[in-house]
């Protein structure tokens, strides 16, 4: 079965420092991977996706993610964190076998950026 795991409930980083939010996946076949961000009382916003191609994917708001097939990981990164990046981040994988476009989400990681 397709699944993703986010091993950290919360990540704390100082403003201006690089940040990493971790995600590992388990899929049969090629993975279609996504990152979404959720601000308080808001729906999810798309950040980036990996389907095929370069292992480093660039997305919105200066975020990027590194796909690593051997480690089955898709970590979200940003070179310099902003206080406004504080939010809940979800990694997701598309459930290809179901052919429904269904996304399977991780539990989420709260990112706290302190000034």
């Amino acid at each position: 079965a397709q699944s993703v795991a986010q091993p950290e409930d919360q990540v704390n980083v100082a403003e201006g420092n690089p940040l990493t939010v971790k995600c590992t996946y388990s899929v049969s076949g090629n993975p279609y991977l996504f990152w979404y961000v959720q601000y308080p009382n808001r729906g999810l916003q798309f950040l980036l996706k990996y389907i095929t191609g370069d292992n480093l994917v660039k997305g919105s708001y200066g975020f990027e993610a590194e796909f690593n097939k051997s480690q089955t990981s898709f970590h979200l990164k940003k070179p310099s964190a902003l206080v406004s990046d504080s939010a809940l981040y979800f990694c997701a994988v598309r459930d290809i076998p179901s052919n429904t476009g269904k996304l399977i989400f991780g539990q989420g990681t709260t990112l706290q950026v302190k000034p």
């Binding site: 729906g43 459930d95 052919n99 269904k102 989420g108």
Partner: protein, 112 residues
């Protein structure tokens, strides 16, 4: 352009009641999906509709049903509400089922 709109934004019901949640997709989007997000967890897939037909259903009981209208808007119905149905219900639309999803702000349902 308007994003995905959901109504109502908040709803309070009692156990055993029925509820209908509404979603209007982004103009031109033909696929609508519903997700349930319980506090502290990631969203869980409930349904997907594409061109007014059900394309997929998650692991939810038959008390949950949905439909998509000719204008591609959608309704999610939940019958015989349980306390455990309290959650944020998210609607998402896309050009087709395999494109990225655009989410609405959700309907916060509280069952007392």
């Amino acid at each position: 352009d308007a994003g995905v709109t959901q109504s109502p934004t908040h709803l309070i019901k009692t156990r055993g009641q029925q509820v209908t949640l509404r979603c209007s997709p982004i103009s031109g989007h033909k696929s609508v999906s519903w997700y349930q997000q319980v506090l502290g967890q990631g969203p869980q897939f409930i349904f997907q509709y594409y061109e007014k037909e059900e394309r997929g259903r998650g692991n939810f009981p038959d008390r949950f049903s949905a439909r998509q209208f000719p204008n591609y808007s959608s309704e999610l119905n939940v019958n015989a509400l349980l306390l455990g149905d309290s959650a944020l219900y998210l609607c998402a639309s896309s050009w087709d089922p395999n494109e990225k999803l655009f989410f609405g702000s959700g309907t916060q349902l509280s069952v007392l």
